[in-house]
Each structure stands twice: as structure tokens, then as C-alpha cells.
């Protein structure tokens, strides 16, 4: 170790803070110059932490369940009545749906309709919140050799969640449709008008660029559009809600604030690609 005089050491100690503050500015420039540096560092960190989070997910899930069980006991009667009523309504809908499905099949058979290929999917557990104050994303623990690719589509049991943006060795990051940078081509179901769903960082993304004369109606269902070949058509996204300031927003069908398990679908979409790291060989998509 180099022996320094007390004065020199004191001077050095005084210098550390300004030098490190300057280094922070340097880091900002570096982050701006090489945007992928931060992404790569994040995925390395996420890969390292994923086993710990996965370990914690078990007891946490148990805790969630027991809390839900206790609060469920509280309103058991009301919940039961509501479910019975809902079940009756859904049963009526089921018969309608079955009849429509049969009719649809018959019409498609008459039209020699080419069926959509059945997509392959993997299911993964959400282990960590991979977002920040100004980013909405979740981290999936997918295990090694997960076979998930960038740009694949995440759905929960109710609807669209988002798209895979980053892949680690055993993790994947899914950008939620509420993120500031999320843009999704959608169709308003009753008017069949196209629009773009724009994330606002809030709970409800906003609808933009619908054609004149077909403004989104309150309660209207919103589904994905196959335009630009980024999404398959007709995945449920949510329903329109016109806010107090008269801005049409979408209430997502997926439970984005309490995601536990999501399915990642590979529709083989080659449209608008998520940005790819340069100098990286294209991944083989053979499966």
C-alpha cells in the first residue's frame, strides 16, 4: 500500500465526491452513447437475481393466497350471490357462443377459409417488477433454454399484457401495454375502426389516430389489429372508457397490476421488430 501524508490523504478524501459526481455525468454520456450497455447490464443483473426472486415467489404466493382467503371469507355471501347471478348470465351467453361458433365453422367450411395456424406458447412466472417510475414492465423467470424470442406476445388469462423486449439467459422482460413507449395497433370492435393504443405510464392507455367519424364509444371492446404484422388480429385488449376530460382511454382486460403467470405466444410475427442489438448474430428460430 502506498503511504501518503495525512495532508495528501485529506486532500484526496475531499476530492472523491467531486470526482464521482463528474463520473456520474460521464456515466450519463456513456449511457446516451451506448443505449444497449444499460440494457445488457440490467439483464445480467436480472439473470443473477432471478433465482432469489423465484425462491421468494413461493412463500409470497402463499401469503397472497391466505390474505385473499381471509378477505374472501369476509364477503363470502355477497360474492356467492354475485357469482350465481354471473354464472346464469354466462350460461346464457355460452349457448349463444356455441351456436355462433357452429355457424362460424359452417360458414368457414363453405368459404374454404384458411385457418390461422395454432400458435405455440410457453408459460412463465412473473418474479419481479422490472419497471420503474417511468417504465412499466415485468420480469419473467423462464429457466434456461426457454425458447422465448424478442417481440413475442404476452397474454394473461384475460387479455393482452405486452410484448417481450429483452431476453436474458434465464429471464425475459415484458414491456406492458401501459408503458410510455408502448404503441399497439388496435381495432375498435363495433365500428371496426383502426386506432393506436398509446401507453401513458398510468393505469389506462390512451387511444389515438382513429378515423374521423368513428370516435370510440364508451364500453366498446378493443382488440388487436394485424396491421403492420406486429400482432395477430383479435386478441382482447380491453374496453373503452371516456375519461372526465373527454379523452378516450382503454381499461386493459389483463390484470396488469397483479400479474402472476403469463403465457408467451409465438405467432411467428415478423413485422415491426423490436430494436435488435447490433453486432449480434440473428438467433436461430428453429424449434
Amino acid at each position: 500500500m502506498i503511504r501518503l501524508s495525512i495532508q495528501a490523504r485529506q486532500a484526496l478524501a475531499k476530492l472523491t465526491l467531486p470526482v464521482l459526481i463528474a463520473a456520474s455525468f460521464g456515466l450519463m454520456l456513456l449511457g446516451k452513447a451506448d443505449a444497449l450497455l444499460a440494457d445488457r447490464a440490467r439483464m445480467v443483473l436480472a439473470d443473477a437475481l432471478a433465482p432469489i426472486y423465484l425462491l421468494l415467489a413461493e412463500p409470497l404466493g402463499g401469503l397472497h393466497q391466505s390474505v385473499a382467503a381471509v378477505s374472501g371469507l369476509w364477503e363470502l355471501r355477497a360474492e356467492n350471490a354475485r357469482l350465481r347471478e354471473e354464472n346464469e348470465r354466462l350460461l346464457r351467453w355460452q349457448s349463444v357462443a356455441l351456436a355462433l361458433d357452429a355457424e362460424n365453422q359452417r360458414l368457414k367450411a363453405n368459404l374454404r377459409w384458411i385457418p390461422d395456424p395454432a400458435p405455440s406458447y410457453v408459460t412463465a412466472r412473473v418474479v419481479a417488477d422490472a419497471g420503474g417510475l417511468y417504465a412499466k414492465a415485468v420480469l419473467l423467470a423462464a429457466g434456461p433454454n426457454h425458447g422465448i424470442h424478442k417481440g413475442e406476445i404476452a397474454l394473461d388469462e384475460r387479455g393482452l399484457v405486452g410484448r417481450v423486449t429483452e431476453i436474458g439467459a434465464r429471464t425475459a422482460r415484458v414491456l406492458l401495454l401501459t408503458d410510455l413507449n408502448s404503441r399497439i395497433p388496435v381495432i375498435l370492435e363495433t365500428s371496426r375502426a383502426h386506432a393506436i393504443l398509446v401507453g401513458t405510464n398510468g393505469a389506462r392507455p390512451r387511444l389515438l389516430y382513429w378515423p374521423e367519424g368513428s370516435a370510440p364509444q364508451e364500453g366498446e371492446r378493443v382488440v388487436t389489429s394485424a396491421e403492420a404484422a406486429a400482432f395477430p388480429a383479435n386478441l382482447p385488449v380491453g374496453s373503452v372508457h371516456v375519461s372526465a376530460t373527454n379523452v378516450p382511454e382503454v381499461v386493459p382486460a389483463a390484470m396488469l397490476d397483479r400479474l402472476e403467470v403469463v403465457r408467451i405466444f409465438d405467432y411467428g410475427m415478423g413485422g415491426v421488430a423490436t430494436p435488435e442489438a447490433p453486432l449480434r448474430l440473428p438467433e436461430r428460430r428453429g424449434r
Partner: protein
């Protein structure tokens, strides 16, 4: 009280166990801060959980900067800031700059802040939290080159002010007991 190592005289070599003990006690503040930061990333299913990272890191940094400035020296603070950026998905450099600024200012005003009681420390922390949240907000907006809502920044400042007493009491207890290298 002078440290035993600095007092003149002949004394036995420090045993390995004791050295480990001292190291553990010295590492307590940084270790505790990092552990708490990692815990905020687990999906608890709380609304606006992203604000928790800032709301937990800032009291840790502030309390240890005041209680024992050597506990979190600037290089360690820089690394904690970097972890803050990576976990919070912020542009690189925002965390280090914000935390080092808080560290530097709290060190400069330390005599004044320590002379007053707990309540004034809390009041001063309100200013620090607001300043740090707004600084981070401005830096992120500038680096992402897009206007960002200021609401979340104010919320995380408010949340950190609300969480401050819990951390202050816990860490001040630890300061005199398990995190004190002289008790090793």
C-alpha cells in the same frame, strides 16, 4: 473515546473472528441498503410499487450520511446509485448523481442538522426528498428527451417522507448496537 487500535501500548493481534465481526459491522449500512433495495423489486401487488425503490433508498442514504459519514463513503454511494439505476430502469447516471448530491449536502449541513432534534431532522429530510425527487425527475426527462409527468416524482418524495421515521429509528438503534465496529 479513542478506538482501542489507536490507543498507545502493546496489545494482542486482532483475531480472525473479531476482524470478521468488525467487517460485518462496517458493512451493515451498505449491506442493509442494498438488501432493502433488492426487496422492493419483488411483486407484492401494491399499487405504484415503483416508488418504493426511491422511498427506501433515500432515507437509508440520508440517515447513514448523518449518523456515520464513513459508513457509506462516496464510492459505495456511487455503486448504490448505479444499482438504483439498474433496478429502477432509469437512464444510467441519474442514481449516482442524485444520491451523491444528497450525501454531499447532508455532510455539509451535518453539524446544523445533528444539533437539532429528530423532528427537525425529519423536516429537513422533507426538503431533501423533494429536492432529490425533482432532480431525478428533471435528469430523466432531459436524458429521455421527453416531457414526463411530475406526479410520480412528488408521490415518491411523499412516500419517502412517510417512511423516514421507521428507518431513522431502526438505523439509529443499529448505529449504537449491531452496526457499531467498536463493540466487536
Amino acid at each position: 473515546m479513542a478506538r482501542p487500535e489507536q490507543a498507545p501500548g502493546i496489545r494482542p493481534r486482532i483475531s480472525l473472528g473479531r476482524r470478521l465481526d468488525i467487517a460485518a459491522r462496517c458493512a451493515f449500512p451498505a449491506g442493509c441498503t442494498v438488501m432493502l433495495m433488492l426487496l422492493t423489486q419483488i411483486p407484492f401487488g401494491i399499487a405504484d410499487q415503483a416508488a418504493l425503490l426511491f422511498a427506501i433508498t433515500l432515507p437509508c442514504v440520508y440517515v447513514w450520511s448523518l449518523a456515520r459519514p464513513t459508513a457509506l463513503p462516496p464510492p459505495v454511494m456511487f455503486l448504490i446509485g448505479l444499482l438504483f439505476d439498474l433496478l429502477g430502469y432509469l437512464p444510467l447516471g441519474v442514481g449516482p448523481l442524485t444520491l451523491l448530491t444528497v450525501h454531499g449536502l447532508s455532510l455539509r449541513w451535518r453539524p446544523m442538522l445533528l444539533a437539532k432534534g429528530f423532528l427537525s431532522g425529519w423536516l429537513a429530510f422533507c426538503g431533501f426528498a423533494l429536492g432529490a425527487a425533482l432532480l431525478a425527475w428533471a435528469l430523466i426527462a432531459a436524458l429521455l428527451f421527453q416531457p414526463l409527468p411530475v406526479g410520480p416524482a412528488l408521490f415518491e418524495a411523499l412516500l419517502s417522507v412517510a417512511l423516514y421515521p421507521a428507518f431513522a429509528i431502526l438505523f439509529l438503534r443499529a448505529y449504537g448496537t449491531i452496526a457499531d465496529p467498536e463493540r466487536a
